[in-house]
């Protein structure tokens, strides 16, 4: 896991490009504390940069950018969980390896199978690969979109980086996208393909972007995607496959030459991952958890139950209000693009780093694939409401009741309207007021966002799964996991998003996948023999962090908000009076932090 950056631009001399890439690497240093490397190809005006966080082959042999046969050069961020299998296959085809890294396997695989190699990779990754003979560069991103990669083709060249912040080093690309506040206030994050910069876009997951230096032509191509089907139709078969496939996935995700741990929230998903990891690691499993003094929010008792059962070593972190207050400015600074979530991930990653872990497993993905969110229960109702006539839905938009006001979003057809109705923050009239825009401008921007228009043939709950997987998890959870983990030089790995496991879960007929009195019943049925009942048969706590109180007490927040414009101040008052949810306030804090309110 590392951070990557690069520039290919004929209009720049190589020294300036090199200087910019060095600056980009400096801005990304937090995500790659172990090493820095630069590769320059003068002939092509190309510079690749890398900051390395070493997890496999910790020696200097893993230095990046890495070359193969003096033809292929790579700067790579991520992990391939099946690299040993691919390496064996390549060895049989006559390839020789110098290092123990997965980086070298990617290079050899590309030299053997060209772009068809990408579909063979099971992992989380984003990389840039330069073919010095064909004079082509490839930007590649994993199929689940776990690792980010942003790029630009402005100014007749190509520039890319793991984080938006790196583009500050390129003056011609450091141009703000003035529309991002609208998306932040509606979604609570910046949804793909929007970014905070005007000329930068994310590489779509499961795609590669190919740029030919000789012709200046480029092409975006898809090499992998996930789709739902009804191939698995019995509980017995589904449960057996879930058990075996997830076991294998966890095993693969534990592969590292550096210390690795497991996040334990007290919920089902991280409980399953920890239990499976403990079967493999036996007594050597290390777990990490966060708890609070206020029992209303603390999941300590659930965590303790599991720790007791697994007999694993646990590092429990008591997060207190003063630490939250002191850390908030840094958390906001560490966010690459603004997002209302991720604070919890920041703290647990910080703690993991303090305890010497370089990688941790997380339970992200379980809720999206198996229906853990309330949105799954509301799927049919949402679809029904979407058929209401527009004037009826519009009446609700000025309502003081959040749920009712958000019904206006159902005016937007398809998954976009459903998502904002279920998960949106502010409504268009509120956004317009806050940002001094017209309501029409806000609606237009929200309508313009390209999200799949219709999901043909999908059962209602699979539609919700598609939505949570491709919108909420993609734009919020995975971005948090990457950026907040990297802020502390910790890699967060997600076994539920193992390629084989995603494909399996999407092949299970929705009628059995979402069946049962409890959410994620099929996961519970599969793993209840290894999971304490207190974990799977417990009341749902929702988002169990005492942030509302802490944000209300925060002097830093108070100062920030009271320096804001009239509407910001009004909204802050509403929050203090208990009439605004903390996540709404959080989006305003983020706007203020970037001088937009």
């Amino acid at each position: 896991m590392c951070r990557i950056a690069g520039i290919l631009n004929e209009g720049l001399n190589i020294d300036s490009s090199e200087q910019m890439v060095r600056q980009m690497c400096q801005l990304l240093k937090h995500g790659g504390p172990d090493d820095e490397g630069i590769y320059s190809c003068v002939e092509a005006n190309l510079v690749l940069g890398n900051r390395r966080l070493a997890l496999l082959d910790l020696s200097d042999a893993g230095h990046q950018p890495m070359q193969y046969q003096n033809r292929y050069f790579i700067t790579y961020n991520g992990e391939l969980y099946n690299y040993i299998l691919i390496k064996d296959e390549l060895k049989k085809l006559g390839h020789h390896f110098i290092t123990g890294t997965d980086t070298e396997v990617i290079l050899a695989a590309f030299s053997q199978w060209n772009v068809q190699s990408f579909a063979k990779f099971n992992g989380m990754y984003a990389f840039a690969l330069w073919d010095n003979v064909q004079k082509e560069i490839y930007l590649v991103r994993d199929a689940a979109g776990m690792k980010p990669l942003y790029y630009s083709t402005a100014s007749d060249g190509l520039a890319f980086a793991s984080e938006i912040r790196a583009f500050k080093a390129i003056p011609y690309l450091d141009k703000a996208n003035n529309n991002w506040p609208v998306y932040l206030m509606a979604y609570g994050h910046i949804p793909e393909p929007v970014t905070t910069l005007a000329d930068i876009r994310p590489l779509h997951k499961g795609c590669f972007f190919k740029y030919n230096v000789a012709t200046g032509t480029h092409s975006l191509q898809s090499f992998a995607h996930y789709s739902f089907s009804n191939k698995i139709n019995t509980n017995t078969e589904a449960e057996l496959l879930i058990k075996n496939t997830l076991q294998k996935a966890v095993h693969r995700h534990l592969l590292a030459d550096a210390p690795i741990g497991v996040f334990l929230s007290g919920g089902i998903d991280s409980g399953i991952i920890a239990s499976l990891a403990s079967q493999i690691k036996k007594d050597n499993l290390n777990s990490l958890s966060i708890c609070f003094e206020d029992p209303q929010f603390s999941e300590k008792k659930f965590q303790d139950n599991l720790i007791q059962k697994l007999k694993c070593k646990n590092y429990q972190y008591l997060l207190k209000e003063d630490e939250f207050e002191n850390s908030l400015p840094t958390i906001l600074k560490n966010m690459d693009m603004p997002g209302c979530d991720g604070i919890n991930t920041w703290f647990i990653s910080k703690y993991a780093a303090e305890k010497g872990f370089k990688a941790v497993l997380s339970g992200v993905g379980g809720d999206e694939l198996f229906g853990g969110y309330p949105s799954f229960q509301r799927a049919s109702m949402t679809q029904m409401l979407q058929k209401f006539p527009a004037p009826l839905l519009n009446i609700t938009k000025y309502s003081n009741k959040k749920q009712l006001a958000r019904m206006a979003y159902l005016n937007m057809d398809g998954i976009k309207g459903a998502y904002l109705f279920l998960r949106g923050l502010f409504t268009p009239p509120e956004i317009a007021r806050q940002l001094n825009a017209t309501e029409k401008e806000v609606w237009n921007l929200l309508e313009d966002l390209p999200v799949i228009s219709a999901l043909n043939n999908l059962e209602n709950k699979n539609k919700t799964a598609w939505m949570e997987f491709n919108l909420y998890m993609q734009n919020q959870l995975l971005r948090d996991a990457d950026v907040m983990g990297m802020a502390h030089g910790v890699e967060i790995r997600v076994p539920f998003l193992d390629d084989e496991f995603i494909r399996l879960s999407m092949n299970i007929n929705a009628a059995i996948k979402f069946k049962g009195p409890l959410p994620k019943q099929i996961l519970i049925n599969t793993f209840k023999n290894i999971l304490p009942e207190t974990i799977w048969n417990r009341p749902k706590m929702g988002f169990s962090f005492p942030f509302a109180k802490w944000l209300a007490d925060s002097k830093y927040v108070k100062g920030l908000m009271e320096d804001g414009n009239k509407i910001t101040k009004l909204n802050y008052k509403k929050f203090i009076a208990g009439n605004l949810h903390w996540s709404h306030l959080m989006s305003l804090i983020l706007l203020r932090h970037r001088n937009h309110a």
Partner: protein, 377 residues
């Protein structure tokens, strides 16, 4: 809800012909166009079965709808969605009446038609001709198809854009020698044999592919080259198989020909590796994807000069072009190739330049840019 591009097809995954190949690759290109340009896309298939698209590599099933031959529903949904789309692309002239109806109801929708080969060379009724004229653009897979359409229907040249078919980016990779040895044994061949390969549907109406002529040409040189063998693959009608066997018998080629039937895509590379030459002297080929696939797997190719093959062979730059009716010419060309196989292999760089997926996408993107921005001629 407003949609940008609607792609209407007959079959995509439930049949294995050239037109279906074009639909799969075009579907992929359209999907990627949507991602790159932030456009929405829907793909409908009239005949594909319910699970036909499961685990396909070309595009996600969520943007696709199979109608399992329920024509009524297909027409209803296609009309409904078509009227809300900026561009409707129809993959086959048999869908023209639906395209025309959409155009009538919603004139601002741009209508594009894929024209492949033989299906657009036959005369049409006056009504169909009028419908054809309603298309905003025709995408012809070869210059030959374009010329034919101009000749037969008197269409304006500007209306027809040639977009040659391309190599499928998911073609299985070439394999090592192990499988080749196994296949030699299976078919009773040996390393000394000179193997001619043709891959075609074998039926009376597909005789234009010219396999009869290949047999006749082989008979002309078999004395000189007794090691010559003919691997004639592809799904066959039993009657046609009998016809070919009878012909082979008459020409004393009984021991020279093998007809293995349908070959699955994944086994194609080993079959190409087995052969020394790809030969298909067809007379009515719209383009001939199989030629460029053969070249991709390193085979010299010989094709006819009377149809769309000229485009696939790049007017002789990539392969040998002969008069497909002239068996002497065919025989001479075969001998030439057997004497210097490497010398007649296609230039890989030129092949990719002409028929690589990258360039196909670039050209299709330009057409779509023009259509979605409504600046069609």
């Amino acid at each position: 809800m407003r949609n940008d591009v609607l792609f209407l097809t007959l079959n995509i995954f439930s049949a294995t012909g050239g037109i279906e190949k074009v639909c799969r690759v075009a579907g992929k290109a359209l999907y990627e166009y949507g991602i790159e340009k932030n456009k929405s896309l829907q793909i409908y298939s009239m005949h594909d079965g319910k699970n036909a698209a499961d685990e396909n590599k070309y595009f996600p099933a969520e943007i696709y709808r199979p109608y399992e031959s329920n024509k009524l529903n297909f027409v209803k949904d296609a009309m409904h969605k078509g009227c809300k789309s900026k561009v409707v692309i129809i993959s086959h002239i048999n869908l023209l009446s639906i395209g025309w109806s959409i155009k009538k109801l919603c004139p601002s929708t741009k209508l594009l038609l894929f024209a492949h080969g033989i299906e657009v060379w036959s005369p049409l009724s006056e009504v169909k001709k009028k419908m054809l004229a309603s298309c905003d653009g025709i995408i012809a897979v070869s210059n030959f198809t374009k010329q034919k359409m101009q000749e037969i229907f008197g269409l304006n040249e500007k209306k027809i854009t040639v977009l040659n078919n391309c190599l499928d980016p998911y073609l299985p990779l070439a394999e090592g020698n192990e499988k080749k040895e196994l296949l030699l044994k299976t078919y009773g061949f040996c390393n000394q044999n000179k193997i001619i390969f043709t891959l075609a549907r074998l039926s009376v109406k597909d005789r234009y592919k010219g396999y009869d002529k290949v047999l006749e040409a082989i008979s002309l040189i078999k004395e000189k080259m007794p090691e010559i063998r003919y691997l004639l693959a592809g799904k066959y009608d039993p009657e046609e198989k009998k016809h070919i066997e009878k012909l082979a018998h008459r020409l004393h080629l009984g021991g020279h020909i093998v007809m293995p039937g349908f070959i699955n895509d994944e086994h194609l590379p080993s079959h190409y590796a087995l052969a020394d030459l790809y030969l298909m002297p067809s007379t009515k080929e719209g383009f001939g994807i199989v030629f460029i696939e053969a070249m991709h797997y390193g085979l010299p190719v010989i094709g006819g000069n009377k149809d769309g093959t000229s485009d696939a062979l790049c007017n002789g730059e990539l392969g040998i072009m002969v008069d497909p009716e002239n068996t002497n010419e065919l025989a001479t060309a075969m001998e030439k190739v057997f004497q210097n196989k490497k010398g007649f292999m296609a230039d890989k760089k030129l092949l990719m330049e002409k028929f690589g997926y990258d360039n196909y996408k670039l050209k299709l993107n330009v057409l779509l840019d023009i259509a979605t921005n409504a600046r069609m001629n």
